[in-house]
Amino acid sequence: MKFVSNVKADVTADVVYMMCPMHLLKLDEMIKKIDKGQILEILTDYDGALEDIPGWCEKTGNQFIGLDEDEDYYKFYVKKTVNSQKQ
């Protein structure tokens, strides 16, 4: 797992305490809303996201930048590298 710090995100989605698989649904929803090249930050306390989010990036072709840890949740960073229909 790649740990990063001080990543400047363009957009943040906070799904802390929201149940699985909200982290993936929100990721899918938000990535469609941002421009190619922009960075999305997802905040979640769900441990399964450690596998799910890098896996989602691999599947969709977007770049998984890495994760940072806060006191009781994770911060995942995903760069949009694939064009998708913008919503």
Binding site: V16, Y17, M18, M19, C20, P21, M22, L25, D72
Partner: protein
């Protein structure tokens, strides 16, 4: 004559609400999460209800989480907010005039290691801002104060307390079960973080409630499972009840002023008449109270006896809260406003609705004094009092 004066316990379903709900019991039975058309229709109906419910408190639809009741909303709010903020501190504050769903949730948190301050109230049941201010510690994370008490009718002046809470970065929740749909509420003007409501308090169905949670406020779920309600409250949605709640909200927005004027006029007739009977006292604030609510304590007799005699005459009312009606103990709310224990036994609450008429009130005004006289004649406590 049958007269229902217990609208804080529950309300009859508005006929238009029942009509709106019916298709979702029958042909539109889909699960809102299903991807085919039947699911889509259920999903659209839930979202339409969310919009209407949000509008009732001037909130965004995305801030509404549907629940099964006001009690669930209160449990969810107090426990969920306290747990979400526990890294910042483990002190919460609730008033002494809260509903059991708040008080018992607070006790649960207390047993789980939180410190709870039970805020005292004045003789009208009002929580003073100074008391709140002096009770705040560095560990305080959540304050929950009821918007209006269903037992004594007092409406709490929340704004000043919310301002204090915000100055200290404390989350503020209100149990607005008795007020939502009955008086105008603007969550942004009040600047609160969470608000509980219940559909059957404004002519909607039982089994539907909601919690408003301000955008960006984190909350730990009460019910774990799937992704219903944006991953915040699991369980297949009670679609007919939610649709009913939305319809009831629409009607409440349309009819609120008319309902308020009607019930306030009837309420004032009751208060004017009954406070003229010797040894009967109005409980709660004389002006800052629910427009449909007249509550009293009657000296020398018991509330239960009054209820039974009135019920024999077709008059249905309450003594204290609906939840404590079977507990046969003095109301903690009446005790907290300084009512002596013996007097608190003589509690009676008349809560009026849009269906009540002047004829019904006249019948009550005629029958209630007779009940009081009859019971006082039998009462050993009335000795010495001039009958």
């Amino acid at each position: 004559m049958k007269c229902y004066f217990d609208h804080v316990a529950t309300n009859p379903l508005h006929p238009d609400v029942l009509e709106a709900m019916m298709p979702y019991f029958k042909e539109e039975y889909g699960n809102p999460l299903s991807l085919y058309e039947l699911g889509g229709k259920a999903r659209d109906a839930v979202e339409k209800a969310r919009e209407a419910t949000a509008k009732l408190i001037k909130a965004k639809p995305s801030t509404i989480v549907f629940t099964s009741s006001g009690a669930e909303s209160n449990n969810f709010a107090l426990r969920g907010l306290a747990l979400a903020r526990q890294a910042n501190g483990k002190h919460i504050m609730v008033s002494k005039v809260e509903h059991h769903s708040i008080l018992n949730s607070a006790r649960f948190l207390e047993k789980s290691g939180f410190v709870v301050t039970y805020l005292p109230v004045d003789k009208y049941g009002i929580v003073g801002p100074e008391v709140v201010k002096s009770s705040i510690t560095k560990e305080t994370t959540v304050i929950s104060i009821i918007h209006a008490s269903s037992e004594i009718g007092t409406i709490e002046p929340l704004k000043e307390i919310v301002t204090i809470a915000k100055e200290h970065n404390i989350l503020f929740h209100t149990d607005a079960v008795a007020t939502t749909g009955n008086i105008p509420i603007d969550v942004n003007e009040l600047n609160i973080d969470a608000l509980s409501m219940s559909a059957h308090q404004f002519y909607g169905p039982k089994g539907a409630g909601a919690l408003y949670i301000r955008e960006g406020v984190r909350i730990v779920p009460l019910i774990y499972g799937g992704i219903q309600e944006n991953g915040r409250r699991a369980g297949t949605e009670n679609v007919p009840a939610i649709v009913g709640m939305g319809k009831a909200a629409e009607i409440a927005i349309r009819d609120m002023e008319k309902r308020m004027n009607h019930t306030q006029r009837l309420r004032d007739k009751v208060i004017d008449a009954f406070t003229k009977i010797p040894h009967i006292y109005l409980t709660g604030h004389p002006e800052k109270r629910l427009h449909n609510h007249a509550s009293f304590v009657v000296e020398f007799i018991e509330g239960e006896a009054m209820l039974l005699l009135l019920a024999m005459k077709g008059i249905y009312t309450a003594s204290g809260s609906a939840c404590s009606s079977k507990a046969l103990k003095s109301s903690p709310i009446l005790l907290s406003i300084g009512t002596p224990t013996a007097l608190a036994q003589g509690s009676i609450v008349f809560s009026l609705g849009e269906g009540n008429s002047d004829e019904e009130i006249d019948y009550l005004l005629e029958e209630f004094p007779k009940v009081v006289v009859k019971l006082r004649e039998m009462s050993p406590f009335a000795k010495g009092w001039e009958k």
